[in-house]
Amino acid sequence: MDMPLPDQRILHARDGLIARLRGVLPADAVIADPAETRAYECDALAAYRCAPLAVVLPRSTAEVSAVLRLCSQMGVKVVPRGAGTSLAGGSFPTADCVVLGVARMNAVIETDYDNRFIRVQTGRTNLAVTGAVEADGWFYAPDPSSQVACAIAGNIAMNSGGAHCLKYGVTTNNLLGVTIVLMSGEVVEIGGPWSDAPGLDLLGVICGSEGQLGVVTEAYLRILPKPEGARPVLMGFAANEVAGACVADIIRAGLLPVAIEFMDRPCIRACEDFAKAGYPDCEALLIVEVEGSPAEIDAQLARIKDIALRHNPVAYRESGSEEESRKIWLGRKSAFGAMGNIADYMCLDGTIPVSELPYVLRRIAEMSAAVGLSVANVFHAGDGNMHPLILYNANKPGDLELCEALGADILKLCVEVGGCLTGEHGVGVEKRDLMTVQFNSADLEAQLRVKDVFDPAWLLNPAKVFPLDVTASRRAS
């Protein structure tokens, strides 16, 4: 993966820049010591590392504005950072950039149950948003796996999803308004605790813009009353195709589970060895979760069972207690840890039409066999968002490259069957160079024009999302 060469003019201006940053921020908000900036050299895409010139940790929208205005005046690039949990390198720094972290901005500004929203500073973690309202019976629906650690800022930047978005939608469907600071330092309020934009839906294009358009410092989020209860059922099948057909039948029947999770044999094995969740020995496993009152749950599960039995499951296990629910989810939730226990892995995130599931799983098996790497599949089956995990050995020369090449081929396959490169993790640097597989030059040009409007000098999170050659002239100007 290539990154542009650092701007020597900026590297030489380092001391002056840091002095000026200290002039607009409190002393403890500017980190310049190389021993400390190293903590920000990567996010969760840890294969790539580069310490930034400096890190700033502002505490208010006004401080964010001051930093951006200053960097804008000096022509210094800025890489925004939430909690640094991006799997796509969304907050991967360059040597000539200032990392702007919003982690210290984590306050709840307003909670309003009558109007069903919470307003927070975006450094607050996803789980802490729910934490602020759950005692009163409410929750914030998007639930990325990293929700303990990830920040709302990053959720908005990546339009994060989660296991339960089948029913509740992803971040963009639960975001009502933002305070965004543009690279110029200008603060703009977009949306609010009401529905619809009065004019163009700017909020819609800001959500998921991967830090390309501005730094979101505050957000109005939709909160929902907590369902009365939830219960998962686990089912095992003799073949991936059969599990795929069962998923399609559940959806077709009009049942709306909150989650339908799919694991294939390599993943079931690894999770079982690691978490001892008591999963059956089978080719494919589904976890289907439904919500409601106990009677509603029973009624839904009865329908789901009817459908599942038509597909001859080798195992069918309804949770009968909190403890059993926990065990059913245990393996799935520890999937990534289980994989990490066996080998290094790369986690993909393509989405495919659910009807293509059996074909794509078969092709992935053939492709991985051809290059001699193992792939375990775990994914959100209800919406076709796949997470193939390619196992490799980081210490074996050439293995990472082999893994990346296989990953690229799998993502190309996702696009080929009518899907996309990324369902919820974002493009970042990781999938930047594959964008031309999904988009032609006119499609990309339209996206670049949006960035031109918000960040005309191309200083915010540059060298991400779009292939470098596509953006070269804009970044150079």
Partner: protein, 365 residues
């Protein structure tokens, strides 16, 4: 003399027409729901028609933008599915004729009562193709439900009223029609009625409609038979009072289409639900009728006898808590004026997508 209308029959032909355009182009689907149409040569998208993909098992539909909404609804209905966001039919309210198209639904982000539960048209739109103001064909999104690849121009196009490009194809995620729907109604004064709606929306009983009008306060519950029974009983217990149960969707069609608000100017107000009562209170002494949807988050207001269609009063009342669009009648700006920062960004976006300034020119500011 009125210039001849343009009727493209393919995306390529449309691109040629836009490239060749010497002046402004007034875009429309079926002309049934636009807040306003720009000046110049009329361009209608009815010639871009047809469903290109419908996978009931994947809850996905892709169709050309000129496809009639009614045609799509019929095809979906035959499979027990629907577009969940309930696009209104505004022909009577806006005194229009014509055939509503999918492109028009998207361009106006047309959404009905179920929005409180499942979101607006934009939340169900998963892909879009359009021709921009330079005649280039652009696509964004696709046909899958989870897609964060690149900037989300899908959302930007939804509700852009033809000012960024001519939408040529749309992809939607669909919903299965639930087996049962029950409406609960009670006659209570406005303030108490709106409070009941908010209370119901704040309960775990999954209300899919929450409106107030001449019919009183109304709630809708949809789903599996047993679940609906349970939730209806739970709501009655939670809210107290006397609730009448009715079947059928006539009440919700009326709310959706702003029925009965036929006189004077017609406003569509989005606001913080708790602010709804205050917005309408500002019209005390002025002849008006209102329907409250989305638990108070949407108010349709018909106002009579005010010179600026009531713009000063209504926009004054909604300042800081929402915004108001004039749907029928005349005032200085049908779309709500935006704060300077937002207006500047929107203007710059329109200039990027339509540098000649020809697509429904000037309607959004």
């Amino acid at each position: 003399m009125t210039p001849l209308a343009l009727h493209p029959h393919s995306e390529a032909e449309l691109g040629e027409m836009i490239r060749a355009a010497q002046g402004p182009v007034s875009l429309r689907g079926g002309g049934t729901r636009g807040v306003a149409y720009g000046p110049g040569t009329v361009l209608e998208t009815a010639g871009l028609s047809g469903i290109s993909l419908y996978e009931p098992g994947a809850l996905t539909l892709v169709a050309a933008a000129g496809t009639p909404l009614a045609e799509v609804e019929a095809v979906l209905s035959a499979q027990g599915q629907r577009l969940a966001f309930e696009a209104p039919d505004l022909r009577r309210a806006l005194q229009r004729q014509g055939v509503s198209t999918l492109g028009g639904v998207v361009a106006t982000n047309a959404s009905g009562p179920r929005r409180v539960q499942t979101g607006a048209a934009r939340d169900h739109l998963i892909g879009v193709r359009f021709v921009d103001g330079m005649g280039s064909v652009v696509k964004s999104g696709g046909r899958v439900m989870k897609n964060v690849t690149g900037l989300d121009l899908v959302k930007l196009m939804a509700g852009s009223h033809g000012t960024l490009g001519v939408i040529t194809q749309v992809a939607f995620k669909l919903q299965a029609v639930p087996e049962c729907a029950v409406t609960l109604q009670t006659q209570v004064p406005l303030s108490a009625g709106l409070a009941l709606l908010r209370r119901a929306l704040g309960s775990p009983f999954e209300v899919s409609g929450a409106a107030y009008g001449t019919f009183g306060a109304a709630l809708r519950v949809e789903g599996m038979q047993a679940s609906v029974r349970y939730r209806v009983a739970s709501l009655k217990a939670l809210l107290g009072g006397d609730w009448v149960e009715t079947a059928g969707d006539a009440l919700w069609v009326g709310v959706r289409d702003a029925q009965g608000l036929d006189d004077g100017a017609l406003w569509r107000v989005s606001c913080k639900p708790t602010a709804a009562e205050g917005v309408v209170a500002a019209l005390a002494g002025v002849a008006h009728q209102a329907i409250f949807d989305w638990g108070g988050g949407l108010i349709w207001i018909a106002v009579q006898g005010l010179g600026d269609a009531g713009a000063a009063l209504i926009r004054g009342a909604v300042a800081g808590v929402g915004h108001a669009t004039l749907m029928r009648g005349t005032c200085a700006a049908a779309f709500a004026p935006e704060a300077a920062g937002v207006a500047a960004l929107s203007r710059a976006l329109r200039a990027q997508f339509d540098p000649k300034g020809i697509l429904n020119a000037g309607i959004m500011g």
